[in-house]
Each structure stands twice: as C-alpha cells, then as structure tokens.
C-alpha cells in the first residue's frame, strides 16, 4: 500500500488565499498599464471593491468560482489594454 498521502493542502484555505492575493496583485499590475489617470484610479477602486466584498467567502466552490471569474476578468483587461495600444 502506498505511503503517499494525497496532499490535502492543495485545497486548503491557505492556498486559496494565496491564489486570491496573487490574482489581486496581477490585476493591479495590469491596471498600472492603463494610460489614463482617471481610468486607472477608477479600475483600482473597482478591483478593490470586488475583492473586499467577497473577502468573507468560505465555501470552497464559491471561492474557486470567484478565482476563475477573476482570472477571466484579468484576461479581458489585458485584451482591452492590448487593443487600446494597437
């Protein structure tokens, strides 16, 4: 029998939290590239509001869904920026 135990830590709240924080950072890093000052401030406030609002979520499924959604919004932001630059 295998002495290897499936790492439950992969799905632990701690790892989830790290993912969320990294996502937040990535979003803020992308927003940095927004050329217009007002737009940049608006987006920073929007991002902060989104993350703060969902801060207390505890259900694994909810958290996972929000991370997925957040990643999609990050991609969309990157795409919009790329379009704006072209």
């Amino acid at each position: 029998s295998s002495t290897y135990r499936r790492p439950a830590a992969l799905f632990s709240p701690f790892i989830r939290r790290q993912q969320v924080l990294l996502l937040y950072r990535r979003i803020l890093q992308t927003i940095r590239q927004v050329p217009n000052d007002s737009d940049r401030k608006y987006l920073k406030d929007w991002a902060r509001e989104e993350f703060k609002r969902n801060k207390s979520a505890t259900e694994e499924d909810t958290i996972r869904m929000m991370i997925t959604q957040g990643n999609m919004q990050l991609k969309e932001l990157e795409r919009t920026l790329a379009l704006a630059k072209s």
């Binding site: 924080l21 950072r25 401030k41 932001l77």
Partner: protein
Amino acid sequence: MASRVLSSCVHRLPVAFAPLPRVSMLVAAQPFSTALCSTGTRTRPGPSQPAAVLMQVPGRVTQLCRQYCEDHVLYILKLYNKIEPEKLCINSHFMKDLGLDRLDQVEIIMAMEDEFGFEIPDLDAEKLICPQEIVDYIVDKKDVYE
C-alpha cells in the same frame, strides 16, 4: 465587465493614495538629515544651501541611503488613507498593529514598487508586513549605502 468599466464614463472616486507631491516639494517641506546624491550632478550643495538636496530624476531617485528609505517609506504609508498616522512607526505590523488586511498589504507593496522604481518578486512581496521589513528589503536589493 472590465471592458465595460473601461469604456464607460469615468467619474472621480476617492483614491487610497493621495496624489504625491513632486519630490522636490517634499524636501522643502521636511528637510532630511542626510544629503541625497544622484548619478548626474549639476550643482553641489554649497554652505548657503539646505543640508538636504534632492536631484529629481523623473520617476525615481537613483541613489538612496537608509535614512531616506525609512523616511520615505513612512511618508508613503502616512498618505494611505487606511493608516492612522499617529499609530504608525517603523515596526508597526500592518495586520496586527494597523488593522490592515492582506489586500491592503498587496496595495502597499505595489505603492512601494512604484515609489522606489523596481519590481519586487511575488514571494518576497507577500513577506513584507511592516515598514522596517520594507526598508531592509530595499536597502538589500538596491544600491543603497548605509
């Protein structure tokens, strides 16, 4: 959603970080104890000039000393509207002493990156949880003399 946000009318919202004054104004407001040099020299401070002279290099200060780092890190934090300035000291723990959360910490580190003009890797960034640690990190990573 992001594209809708971008393309919609933008209205002014209160921001976490107040617009920073030009660095030269900062010197006029509060003279630092040590002089700052920059890589390109124009005039050397003469006896009639204030002790602290700051050459403004657009966007960043290129040569730093520890005292400046400490002063500037604390200055930036005081501008953060979620921090009560009277509670802030060099060893204030962001979460335990100042009541901030991890999202705030992310914003703070990004503001420090913007201020000091360099990127901090993710794994290092998440570990910096008080002003002293930020200063020590900057002193270590940049060409700072003590």
